[in-house]
Symmetry: C2
Subunit: 162 residues, 2 copies
Amino acid sequence: MNSDTRWLSDHEQQLWRGLRELIWGFESAMDRQLQRDSELSGVEYSVLAALSEAEDATMRARDIAHALDWERSRLSHLLKRMEARGLVARTECPTDARGFNISMTAAGRTAIERAAPGHVSFVRENVFDPLTPAEQEALLSAATKIQNSLRAAGWWERAKGD
Amino acid sequence: MNSDTRWLSDHEQQLWRGLRELIWGFESAMDRQLQRDSELSGVEYSVLAALSEAEDATMRARDIAHALDWERSRLSHLLKRMEARGLVARTECPTDARGFNISMTAAGRTAIERAAPGHVSFVRENVFDPLTPAEQEALLSAATKIQNSLRAAGWWERAKGD
DNA sequence: TCGCTTTGGTTGACACTTCAACCTTCCGTG
DNA sequence: CACGGAAGGTTGAAGTGTCAACCAAAGCGA
């Protein structure tokens, strides 16, 4: 933080650049694929994917938010749009009058079932196929270590509100 | 794409999940750090960093856009805001009447010089320190291969309009 | 030089995320 | 029970990104 900052060497800059490009580019590439091959955005896909793994395709809103590590308001806005498009339905929660149960509609299931094959192929072709099993392990290991470091330093969690 | 999709195995899902979390979480962690330790957002930092490496701290707008791989309009909007905040200045381009030269102001330089040490420390502590040199190489190699695959499949470039 | 295409850049509408404020309900404690 | 805080969710405003339309200048071939 002070004047004796250890700047990055050329070689380190190269790694940093590669990683940054991947991080910035991968998500938008994925979004492009989804948007082209289906009528779902990446975030909508995430929500439907979470729902599809749940009992009865139904989840409490807060559990979705927690599973995706999202802010409550972000989810709330998105659910409103998705409800308007008929992808999910909202019912009151019998055990907690504050909460809501969000469930996937038939249209929602149709949409994700149509999107899933292309999405999975995208991931397989661009993450698994280009890497050997050993490289895959190395990638997972590195990603995990970086994430752990961020967690330990307190950078992973949001400031405070949610 | 068709019915014989090769779905992901449990183990593959684990890798995919880890990678996704890193991709989604890293950028926001970085933004949090910048926002906390400086008065710059991540994108503003990128622009100033690009400028600071240029001759005279001045670049054509299109060159910035190209260096960051951004859309023209995104850059245009951001520059308008940054100009309003006094971080950059805009002058007409002598050799091309359509273009503009964007240069970093004194305030812009102050801002990035204040932000840089913390940012570099963040990268060093969370990317380099947690990984052995071999792991760093493996990460770069994997990132490069994934990126190449995306490029080859045409997912890297934006649709058409820039 | 004329006309056509490309390039550089801006703009406005719309989509999405964040932030702070707010309301209601739940829960623990005195 | 009462009350004070925590949890679940919504809302509106502001910030940021995308998309398509647009304009002016540049480049280029006939």
